[in-house]
Assembly symmetry: C2
Homo-oligomer: 191 residues x 2
DNA sequence: GTCTATATGCTGATAGAC
DNA sequence: GTCTATCAGCATATAGAC
């Protein structure tokens, strides 16, 4: 986002960095490996990015811009507040689980010493306002804590990347449906 | 768990390791820092543990044994399947959020190259059977997927450590109540 | 824009005295 | 059981040629 340069190589570099950060963790991933995976030498990275930390921030910027776009688009033209929430959840889970390494890299805990950590959290909060807004228009029992509800739903979704596997279990879409329906309709048949 | 040695020093070392792993991440945490925080020299660690990886596994063993004990104890004598589930969730969240660094260290993504990774996942799965059992005895609509329900609830709980802060927001207990009630009673007042 | 070469420092781990 | 001393390797980042 800062230097004027061939967009292709930059993109390639970001993709490689995301893959390494996800696979090995930020601290364990080395600039050598990232460079190798992007088809260049270590020193060349520094023409495109100032530091390893800057690379992490850029990965977050790219990932969150993309998922924000996808989630926003998913609710467009959908009627009914619950259906809109479900569509957003489907988009969120699809990006997270089947949208490539970019989003999985972003779900890892952000290292405590990274320069630009605040920016990363700002981007994340900004994205989550989509869900704040979708939940704000739901008709809920008056005692409902909407903040807790949002965090509960996002937690359930974001945790899926620790257990979900492509070839077994429910699709991202059916997971989204189940999550939202469990909250919407209630599970206690005795009540 | 392997060598006969002064239990105190070992415990001290585990505590220091857990704190460092949580604060800095496993890869970024150094044996030097851990040693310093435990009041000894780097080389002395290797009398108690074979490697940094072994230290991580031991931290998981300790943490999961403790949380398992706490959660099991919390449901004892509690009547009613939903109340039992809520008690277990309260215990789980209390350990995770206010039980010290041990449990937060365990919630971090497990590095991909650690020796003993399988053991760590085995311990985690073993612990989660407590929730499998509690959910198995709930009376639910026949179409309910209990596996997804468990993963949804655990996800919501385990994600709290990314946003929860001691001085603001709901207590672990009231969070547990809200999570379980949201699932139990349903939120759509139109239905 | 990408390269080779390298500076500088920190890493996990080991040897062996006490 | 804990120490001092040290090894060999890899880390991020920079300098400067092309």
């Amino acid at each position: 986002m800062s230097k004027p340069t061939s967009a292709n190589r930059r993109e390639q570099l970001l993709e490689a960095a995301a893959a390494c950060f996800y696979r090995e963790g930020f601290e364990a991933a080395s600039m050598r490996t990232i460079a190798e995976e992007a088809g260049m030498r270590t020193a060349s990275i520094y023409y495109h990015f100032d530091s390893k930390d800057a690379l992490l921030v850029a990965v977050h910027e790219t990932a969150l811009a993309r998922i924000r776009k996808a989630t926003s688009a998913a609710v467009e033209g959908v009627a009914g507040p619950w259906q809109r929430l479900e569509s957003a959840c489907t988009a969120h889970l699809e990006m997270l689980l089947t949208g490539g390494t970019f989003f999985k890299a972003v779900m890892r805990q952000v290292p405590s010493k990274v320069e630009g950590r605040d920016m990363i959290f700002k981007l994340r909060d900004e994205y989550e306002t989509i869900f704040t807004d979708l939940i704000a228009v739901l008709e809920l029992p008056s005692a409902t804590d909407r903040d807790t509800l949002r965090l509960m739903l996002l937690g359930a979704m974001n945790w899926t990347f620790t257990w979900w596997r492509p070839r077994s279990g429910p699709s991202p879409g059916s997971l989204a449906t189940t999550f939202v329906n469990n909250l919407r309709t209630g599970l206690d048949i005795a009540s």
